[in-house]
Symmetry: C2
Subunit: 260 residues, 2 copies
């Protein structure tokens, strides 16, 4: 087990750099905080590369640490830990992990949730959590979505990112087009003269597109969809919360293949 | 139009006190921040009692201020405004409003969303926003829910609180019992051997109970329900986000009377 007590240690500086998307992309690494995310990561992806922890955390989670290989453990002082942490009340555990390379092309069949320009890390994480919870077959991200490996995305996803089938095609529009071979593609919209969700039958290989929180789906992508869809509302409010709207869409989308 | 430039002004001190639930309850007043909430309040409840604003806000929203009676306007210095505001990037508009007295007893028929001990202000506001958006007939709060008039609840509700039919019975269990006269009452649960949402027919006057984020519904209230219900999930995640789970429940609940 290694021990680091200097805030100027080069390894610690490298971990702190992983707060930035650019450093994550260049190194192919990211970090996660807290016991729950660590356990979810290990459950789905195996051991992390390095685990940094405080003495207090070591004493609080003895079983967890006992289950890890000795050579990935690195005990750090509270002051060093604070330098890395992005949490307001940290649990004292940070794992450095290897990023996945997500496939570019979609499988030959299936129902997909396309996320175009979902820029809010909390929304992206929550949408992925809902999609994995309800059994979406594949989640397809446009290149300008928030970063999957941003600490806030990971936190909001509660680790669902590690269990998700995520695709990151370089050409988002081509991926949308390819999904049309297997079923209909619905673009969620905010305007009338769209189909009303819940009033038409969603079939097993149909896909849905969710757009940016403020701007919605771009005209380019919308024009590729077979139909636009709205969540029918009373008009007493202007809109739904983004995570709530996505949950309803995902629920209706997975209804078709979950036999509800 | 009044002008206040002293942070020690007694009126300003009274407004600042409204940050606390106790002061809100005692005075029967609360405050809202931002143009959107102000517009929603006016749309549903009429003019507020007082409007505090900065010069910058006055110049940015001239039409809004022109539509208000002169005698409720109170121009304040930036320093005074900062003292009242709870926002990180305030728009410079705060309205002091009279709290509603929500009815204790439920109407003689209808479908209700019961919220037991929903303590997180953000969740409470988001759930109310979703319920109003989708057309829930009545929202029934247990006395230990977060405060409707907490600035964070109001912000998350995006003003839906003002459009909602809210009930606050002193005896929450008696209200649940009374709803059973008109239809079934379903308690949302996290354990198996419950009915699966989406696999049974929800009828027009059926009601649902959503419990505390961590503890769920108390045994006392659960025992009053006709059935427990779960949202069927893949098991790849531990749970859904509270606002996402509530959105799915509300969507299925309103499906019955919205003809979806």
């Amino acid at each position: 087990m290694k021990v680091i007590t200097s805030r100027n240690n080069e390894r610690i500086k490298d971990v702190v750099r992983l707060r930035d998307r650019k450093a994550r992309t260049e190194s192919g690494l990211f970090f996660i905080e807290g016991i729950h995310l660590a356990e979810e990561y290990i459950r789905h992806c195996g051991f992390p590369l390095e685990v940094y922890f405080t003495e207090k955390a070591y004493n609080s989670y003895r079983d967890f640490f006992a289950s890890l290989p000795e050579d990935i453990l690195c005990s750090v002082s509270d002051s060093v830990f604070e330098k890395i942490s992005t949490e307001s009340s940290p649990q004292g555990v940070i794992c450095v992990c290897k990023a996945c390379s997500f496939p570019q092309s979609l499988p030959e069949k299936g129902s997909f949730l396309f996320l175009e320009s979902v820029r809010d890390t909390g929304n992206l994480g929550t949408i992925i959590r809902t999609a994995v919870s309800l059994g979406v077959e594949g989640i397809v991200l446009s290149p300008d979505c928030a970063d999957i490996y941003n600490p806030k995305t990971l936190r909001a996803s509660m680790g669902a990112v590690f269990a998700a089938d995520i695709f990151m095609p370089a050409e988002f529009s081509a991926a949308v087009t390819s999904a049309k071979k297997y079923g209909k593609v619905y673009a969620t919209a905010l305007y009338d003269n769209s189909l009303e969700l819940g009033k038409f039958k969603v079939c097993k290989n149909d896909s849905f597109i969710i757009g940016n929180e403020g701007q919605g789906i771009t005209e380019e992508i919308r024009s590729l969809a077979d139909n636009t869809v709205i969540i029918p509302m009373t008009g007493k409010t202007e809109s739904l919360n983004a995570a709530a709207a996505a949950a309803i869409i995902i629920w209706e989308m997975t209804r078709s293949y979950n036999g509800r």
